[in-house]
C-alpha cells in the first residue's frame, strides 16, 4: 500500500489544488508534499523488495535506488521555489500552474520507477511529459512557448518510437508463439527468444526512442532549446527528476534484452553516447550563453551514461554513482544559473563578471557545480567517470576510450574558459541587490553535501543498494 501512496499523495494534492482553485500558501503545499513523498520513498527504499497488485507495482532494487535520490531532489527544488516566492512575492501568481503540474510530474516519475510492466512505465513517462510541457512556458514569452512545443514534439516522437519498439518485440515473440507480456518478471524469460530480425529491430527502435527522450544524439536538438528557455525550477525538474525516469526505463530495457542482444546494445549505446559527447562538446565550445552551456553539458552527461550502460560489467557501479552525482550536479547548476540570469538579466557569460563579490553563494555553487560537472575529485562524478573510463579500457574499446578522452578534455577547457571568468573576474556592474543569505541557498548546499558524500563516503546501506543494482545491470554483459 505504501507504493500506492508514492503516486497517490502528489496526485490527490494536485487535484485538490486544481479543483479548489487554491491560490494561497501554495509554496507550503509544494514543500510539504515534497517532504511527505520523500519520507515515503525513503521508507520504501529501506523496506526491501515490495509489491502491490502483482505485475503492476514493484519496488525492486533499481526502483528503490532511484526513489531514494530523485524524491529528495524534488523536495529541494520545492524548497528553492518557496525561497524564490519569498524573495519575489509576484511569483506567487505562477504557483497555481506550477504546483499541480510539478506534483503530477512527480507522481508520474515515481510511477515509472515502481511500474512492474514496461508499457505501464511508458504510459507514466508519457504522463510526465504532459505534466512537464506546460511548466516550460514562461508567461508572455513566445520563445519558451516554442521551446515547450519542441519538447512535446520530440518527446512525442521518442515515446512513439519506444511504443513501436514494444510492438516489434511483441511481433518477434508472436513468431515464436510466445505471449507479448512486458511485465518485468515475464520479460526476463521471454526476451531471450527475441533474436530474430523483428526482435533486433525492436530493441534498436527502443534504444533510439529512449535515447531521444534522454536527449542523446541524433535527436537532441530539443534539449538545449528547452533547457535554455524554461524557468530554472522547471529545468531542474526535467534534468534531475524526469531524466532519471527515462533512464530507468532504458536500464530496464538493457537489463531485459541484454542477454539476447548484447553486441547490438553495446554498439548502439556506445555510438549514441559518443555522438552525444561529440555534439555537446561542439555546443559547449561554440556557445557564449552560460545557461545553454550547462544544457549542452547535460547532453554530455547523457552521453557518458549511455557509454557506461553500454559497456556494463565492472563499469556499472561507476555508472550509477555517476547517475546520482549527475542528478545533484544538474540541480545545483540549473538553479544557480537561473538565479544569476535573474539578477544580471542576461545569459551572455561575457556580460557576467565578479560573481564572487556580487552573488557570493551563487558564485560558490557555480564553482563547485562546474568542478563536479567536469569530474573533479572529491565528487562522485569523478569516481563514476573514472570507473566508466576503466571499463572502456578493460572492455577493449580503446578507440572509444581515446575519442572520449579527447572530447572530454575539449569540454573541460571550453567550460573553464566560459565559466571561470564569470566567477573570478572583476565586477563591472553595481551590486545593489539584496544581500544573499545562506538560508535561501540551503537546498543547493544539501545537494552539494550529497555530491561530496557520494565521492568520499557512501553509507553502507546505500552502497549495498548501488552494488545490487550495478550487479543486476552489469551481469548482463
Amino acid at each position: 500500500m505504501i507504493l500506492v501512496l508514492l503516486v497517490a499523495l502528489p496526485v490527490v494534492v494536485a487535484a485538490i489544488v486544481a479543483v479548489a482553485r487554491m491560490r494561497e500558501e501554495l509554496e507550503w503545499v509544494l514543500v510539504l508534499t515534497g517532504a511527505g513523498v520523500t519520507l515515503v520513498s525513503w521508507a520504501v527504499a529501506a523496506s526491501g523488495e515490495l509489491e502491490w497488485a502483482p505485475l503492476l507495482l514493484r519496488a525492486d532494487a533499481p526502483a528503490r535506488l532511484f526513489l531514494a535520490f530523485v524524491n529528495p531532489i524534488f523536495f529541494g527544488i520545492a524548497v528553492y521555489v518557496w525561497g524564490r516566492v519569498d524573495a519575489v512575492p509576484a511569483l506567487k501568481e505562477q504557483l497555481p500552474t506550477f504546483v499541480p503540474a510539478s506534483l503530477l510530474l512527480l507522481a508520474a516519475v515515481d510511477l515509472v520507477f515502481i511500474a512492474d510492466h514496461l508499457v505501464l512505465a511508458w504510459l507514466a513517462l508519457e504522463a510526465s511529459t504532459f505534466a512537464a510541457a506546460p511548466l516550460v512556458i514562461r508567461r508572455a514569452h513566445r520563445a519558451s512557448l516554442l521551446a515547450s512545443w519542441s519538447y512535446l514534439v520530440f518527446s512525442g516522437v521518442a515515446l512513439s518510437l519506444t511504443f513501436l519498439g514494444f510492438t516489434l518485440v511483441s511481433r518477434s515473440l508472436g513468431a515464436h508463439d510466445l505471449p507479448a507480456d512486458f511485465s518485468l518478471a515475464a520479460l526476463e524469460g521471454l526476451a531471450t527468444s527475441t533474436t530474430d530480425d523483428w526482435g533486433r529491430l525492436g530493441v534498436l527502435v527502443l534504444l533510439l526512442g529512449l535515447g531521444t527522450k534522454l536527449g542523446l544524439a541524433p535527436m537532441y536538438s530539443w534539449l538545449p532549446e528547452t533547457y535554455d528557455e524554461a524557468p530554472p525550477a522547471t529545468v531542474a525538474l526535467l534534468a534531475s527528476v524526469q531524466f532519471n525516469a527515462s533512464l530507468l526505463v532504458l536500464v530496464r530495457v538493457v537489463h531485459a534484452f541484454g542477454p539476447a542482444h548484447a553486441s547490438l546494445i553495446v554498439m548502439v549505446l556506445l555510438g549514441l553516447g559518443l555522438a552525444s559527447v561529440a555534439v555537446s562538446t561542439a555546443g559547449v565550445v561554440a556557445t557564449r550563453s552560460f545557461k545553454r552551456l550547462v544544457a549542452f553539458a547535460s547532453i554530455n552527461h547523457a552521453g557518458v551514461i549511455a557509454i557506461g550502460l553500454g559497456i556494463g560489467g565492472e563499469a556499472a557501479y561507476g555508472l550509477f554513482l555517476y547517475v546520482m552525482s549527475n542528478a545533484f550536479t544538474k540541480a545545483i547548476l540549473f538553479l544557480t544559473v537561473g538565479k544569476i540570469k535573474a539578477h544580471y538579466h542576461t545569459k551572455d557569460a561575457r556580460q557576467v563578471t565578479g560573481l564572487l563579490q556580487n552573488l557570493p553563494y551563487s558564485a560558490i555553487f557555480l564553482m563547485v557545480g562546474t568542478f563536479a560537472l567536469l569530474g573533479f575529485p572529491p565528487f562522485g562524478s569523478f569516481f563514476g567517470e573514472l570507473l566508466i573510463l576503466s571499463g572502456l579500457a578493460a572492455g577493449e574499446h580503446m578507440t572509444v576510450f581515446v575519442v572520449f578522452c579527447v572530447l572530454i578534455t575539449m569540454t573541460f577547457v571550453a567550460t573553464g574558459r566560459t565559466i571561470f571568468p564569470m566567477i573570478w573576474g572583476e565586477g563591472t556592474q553595481p551590486a545593489n541587490w539584496p544581500k544573499q543569505t545562506l538560508w535561501s541557498s540551503w537546498p543547493k548546499a544539501v545537494f552539494f553535501i550529497a555530491l561530496v558524500v557520494l565521492g568520499l563516503y557512501i553509507p553502507s546501506s546505500a552502497n549495498e543498494l548501488i552494488h545490487s543494482v550495478a550487479a543486476l545491470v552489469g551481469s548482463q554483459r
Binding site: 521555489v81 508572455a140 514569452h141 530554472p232
Partner: protein, 208 residues
C-alpha cells in the same frame, strides 16, 4: 493486395502532393476510419474482448473523427489560409516520398517474405517513413502535428500487424488510447497559440 490496404496507401500518399491543410486533415480522418475498418477485418476475434472495442473506438472515433475535426474547427475559426505544404513542393521531396513507399515494400518483403500480412506491413512502414519525412522537412506546428499524428497511426498499424490473435489487458489498451486523446488535446492547445500568437508576447519577467 487487399483493397483496404491500397485505399490506406492512397490516403497516406495523396495528401503529400496537395499543399492544403484541409486535404491533410481529410487524409488523417480517412486513415483513422480505414484503420478501424482494417482492425475489425484483420482480427474479428479481437471484438470479443473489451480491449478490441476500445481500439476500434480509438481508431474510428478519435483518430478518424475527433482529432481531425478539432484541428479543422480551430483552423477554420482562425481563418488560417488553406495553403500548407507538408513537404516542400518540389520534385525532390515528392521523389523522396515515393522512394519511402518503394523502400517500405522492399523492407516488408525482406522482413515477412511470403506472409499473408505482407501488404499491411508495407503500408505500416510507408506510413512511418512518410510521417518522419514530414517531421524532418517542416517546422510549422501544423505540419509537425500532421507528421506526429501520421506516426501515431503508423504505430497503430504496426500494432495491428503484430497483435493478431493476442489481446492486450484492458487497462493498458485504455491507457494507450487515453494518452493519444490527451496528446490531441495538447496539440490543439499549442496550435491555438502558435498559429496566431496572442499579442504582448516576449516581455521580460521574473520566473520560478
Amino acid at each position: 493486395m487487399n483493397t483496404l490496404h491500397v485505399a490506406l496507401l492512397g490516403v497516406l500518399v495523396l495528401p503529400i502532393f496537395v499543399g492544403n491543410w484541409r486535404v491533410s486533415l481529410v487524409g488523417l480522418s480517412a486513415q483513422g476510419l480505414l484503420l478501424a475498418w482494417i482492425a475489425s477485418r484483420h482480427d474479428p476475434s479481437a471484438l470479443d474482448h473489451a480491449s478490441g472495442w476500445i481500439g476500434l473506438v480509438d481508431f474510428g472515433a478519435v483518430r478518424g473523427v475527433l482529432a481531425p475535426l478539432t484541428m479543422w474547427r480551430l483552423l477554420s475559426a482562425r481563418q488560417v489560409p488553406g495553403r500548407n505544404d507538408v513537404v516542400a513542393p518540389n520534385l525532390f521531396s515528392w521523389g523522396l516520398a515515393l522512394g519511402c513507399v518503394l523502400l517500405a515494400f522492399r523492407l516488408a518483403a525482406k522482413l515477412s517474405p511470403g506472409a499473408s500480412s505482407h501488404t499491411l506491413l508495407a503500408v505500416s512502414i510507408a506510413a512511418l517513413l512518410l510521417g518522419f519525412l514530414i517531421l524532418s522537412m517542416q517546422s510549422s506546428p501544423l505540419s509537425q502535428i500532421i507528421g506526429l499524428l501520421r506516426i501515431e497511426n503508423a504505430v497503430a498499424l504496426f500494432e495491428l500487424h503484430a497483435s493478431a490473435g493476442a489481446h492486450e489487458p484492458i487497462g493498458l489498451r485504455l491507457g494507450v488510447s487515453l494518452a493519444f486523446l490527451v496528446s490531441v488535446g495538447f496539440f490543439r492547445w499549442y496550435l491555438a497559440r502558435l498559429v496566431q500568437p496572442p499579442t504582448g508576447m516576449d516581455a521580460e519577467e521574473a520566473v520560478l
